[in-house]
């Protein structure tokens, strides 16, 4: 099985599994996420996501503080531009563990079996079978992009009654295949989370 075929097979399974879980979720625990997405920090972009809390548990710590532990699924889409190189599009179905304390401080970590598509920024010419240069449109590559991430944030509704949270997050992404092997990419996110109340 080719790499790209394996990627599609894996993604299909993953989406099916998540869809099954979502069927049982209430609409009350959903959020919208919008963020600056900086691949290699300065390759600017945007990311949007729709977060659904799959499971949430409130508990007391040994010191008597209350914390909320939650597992969330956030299908998202990031787009960025690496100037004079490519525009990247990443489908990121994040699964995350989130912990929020009574002051509204958030810690988050998770994984995402992402799917990456690049669009080369420039005129692309392919050498065809006749040995001639043939112009291509929207040329790029598709790759698997598994991601792990860690982040912090703050729920501003706790102290200030502002119904949003801000968050910052570091993504470590592996693009497979890339050239003769794979490529590790880093990206930062700075964004806001807006709870959806139905």
């Amino acid at each position: 099985m080719g790499t790209v075929t394996s990627i599609y097979f894996f993604m299909h399974k993953f989406i099916f599994l998540v869809a099954c879980v979502l069927t049982f979720q209430s609409a009350a625990s959903q959020e919208l996420k919008v963020a600056y997405f900086g691949e290699s920090f300065t390759h600017y972009g945007l990311k949007g996501g729709y977060s659904i809390t799959l499971r949430s548990v409130d508990k007391q710590t040994k010191k008597g503080h209350s914390v909320t532990n939650a597992v969330a699924f956030t299908p998202g889409l990031a787009i960025y531009r690496h100037a004079h190189n490519h525009v990247g599009l990443i489908v990121m179905p994040d699964v995350s563990y989130r912990r929020k304390n009574e002051k509204g401080r958030i810690f988050e970590t998770g994984i995402s079996p992402g799917l990456f598509r690049s669009f080369l920024e420039g005129k692309v010419y392919e050498v065809n079978e006749a040995g001639e240069l043939e112009k291509l449109t929207l040329a790029g590559r598709t790759a698997f992009m598994p991601t792990v991430f860690i982040g912090i944030g703050k729920d501003l509704s706790v102290k200030r009654e502002i119904p949003i949270s801000w968050y910052a997050r570091l993504n470590v992404m592996k693009q497979v295949p890339y050239n003769a092997s794979s490529l590790t990419r880093f990206a930062i996110e700075f964004g806001i989370i807006k709870p959806l109340i139905f």
Binding site: H82, N179, F186
Partner: protein
Amino acid sequence: MQKLFFLFIIPLFFLSCTEDATEATDTFYVRNDGADMPVWVRGNVDSGKIILYVHGGPGDCAMCYRYYLKGMEKDVAVAYWDQRIAGSASGNVDPKTLNYEQYTEDAFYVVSLLRQQYPGKKIYLMGHSFGVEVTWQFLTTNDNQSMVAGALIVNGTFSNYRWMDVMRDWVIREATEQNNAKALDFAEENPVTKENIQELDWVGYYRHMLDLGGNELSLFSNKKFLINYALFTPNTTLAQFSHGKGYENYFDFEMLNYDTSGKLDMIDIPVAFLWGKKDGVVPIEIGYETEALLVNTTVDWTVFDDSWHEPFVSENEKFIEAALSFMRNN
């Protein structure tokens, strides 16, 4: 915490906008045998002259050296080509294609593309280090030399057997001067012959050469270059460190068989040598040997007395002027 957040995020937004400020003319990609290789053309195309920079390595990058070669762009255009799996080239590449035949084919299509896009313009190859090997291979294959107006050769070899033999001489000379018994013992225990070249511990020679000061200048000691390289150029920074394994077959077998000495007599286009005199990586004696083999053309020499392997870094202005002067005269 919030103050820290905004202090960090706002400068990043501004940084993200200050992308590589170029007088961009064109960006092309050549897709060949699994590789998507960028060719950035910058500078004065109206001059009628384009230098195609053939970078070293293998595995180095072209656009990252724009920092040092930009001085030429006012007078001529420079085409920066990242070879397969190097620099910011991407794709899905079989490591078996990392051989001279493939590099020559890639170079052929890059030159063909430049000729197609800029009809009537003169194209010059500027090979540096490994790029010199690709340049010689290209020029001595079929009638390729008729596609270009000249070649600028910067600290590179025509034969890897000769390279190793000359480097051994360099190591012995420097080790004697510096009283380095370890390096001398190594050279004595590891003679270089045509017959043993495949088994030769060339990495050992390379290490001793560096220890003896064969390339004192590090690109990465220039912090401005480093920041520009990492954050504001089209390079895919971390890709530089991801492709090492791909070259295993090249370094173990392919490289050591390289030899164009029997073909250099077919070259009749103008050639310039720009050589860092203190270089231990590819010592200047290789340049003299190459010149002797170029019997059907003349060589325009510029020696950089205070330079090692990258004269365009250490004596930038002199380098730019020498390159432009060659192109003005040819």
